[in-house]
Amino acid sequence: MLPLFHWIQNTSWATSFRQADLLFPLVEGSHILALSLSVGLILMLDLRLLGIAFRTEPVSRIMSQVMPWALPGFAIVFLTGLLLFLAQAEKVYTNSYFRVKVLTLILLGLNAVFYQYRYYPHMGEWDKAETAPAGPRVVAIVSLLLWMAVIVCGRLTAYEL
């Protein structure tokens, strides 16, 4: 992988993007500030599953209300993140915080898929309960903790570049 990332980082567009006075900070700032739209809205769902917030609303309603904005939010974070990665591919690839971050993101993806297959089909049974059953609650706690780890690792990645 390293030769590939070495090549990407040294392409002319990656070099000019990396050294751009305004574009690079704008993309990086968007990456960070769009966390409020993506992770911030997922927070609503996690806290609802745990019975900490929005207890009077059915889980299905929170999910359907949150997703139309959370998904574009994740798209912005992912695309800006991809650009930031490509601009510094070789340096980022060898960064250990970045590796932990990617691993954590993969776990988050698996966590979401697990919820979707294991618990989502039975949501009707506890949709209106103030607190979700133990299984979905564990998924919510894992989601909260891992997202926190992703954000901190992301900040640390930038420090080591």
Partner: protein, 159 residues
């Protein structure tokens, strides 16, 4: 005691010295600063999307306001406390940074607006349940808080 001397004393103190010379202290504190910002801005985004009627319209404003206001405040406190500890080891650098000065003007403005005019308007709107789209108030709130965020990002890039 002048403010200058206070900063000098803090700069010379052994505790701040540890903070300054540790390889991990500031990056980790910055990580928590970012967690606080995410929490705060998510609360701002959620409430304003609802006021603008662009999203979350299936949940009553009163319910949203009650829930996200407290976590917005928690995020603000976390961001402010962690931000102070990023500032402390190197006050002279930040005092000379135009973006930082802009941030320190926009931030108190945002807090003042959010906890007075804005808060009262949200409470009135939640009680009235008029269902009308609010425009000026949510846009101003978004501009102020994201303005703080962008000014913060500019500290490292523009100076």
């Amino acid at each position: 005691m002048s403010l200058q001397r206070l900063w000098q004393m803090s700069y010379d103190s052994p505790t701040v010295d540890i903070l300054r010379n540790s390889h991990y202290a500031i990056p980790v504190i910055q990580g928590f600063h970012l967690l606080g910002i995410t929490l705060l801005l998510s609360s701002v985004v959620i409430l304003n999307l609802r006021l603008l009627r662009l999203g979350l319209t299936g949940i009553r404003l009163q319910v949203i306001a009650r829930q996200v206001w407290s976590w917005g405040t928690a995020g603000l406190i976390l961001a402010a406390v962690s931000g102070f500890f990023v500032f402390l080891p190197d006050p002279a650098r930040y005092a000379a940074n135009t973006s930082f000065i802009v941030k320190m003007i926009v931030l108190p403005s945002a807090i003042l607006f959010q906890y007075t005019v804005y808060r009262r308007a949200v409470q009135a709107e939640a009680a009235a349940q008029s269902g009308e789209r609010r425009l000026i108030l949510p846009l101003l709130s978004l501009c102020l808080w994201f303005g703080v965020g962008w000014a913060g990002r500019a500290i490292a890039f523009l100076g």
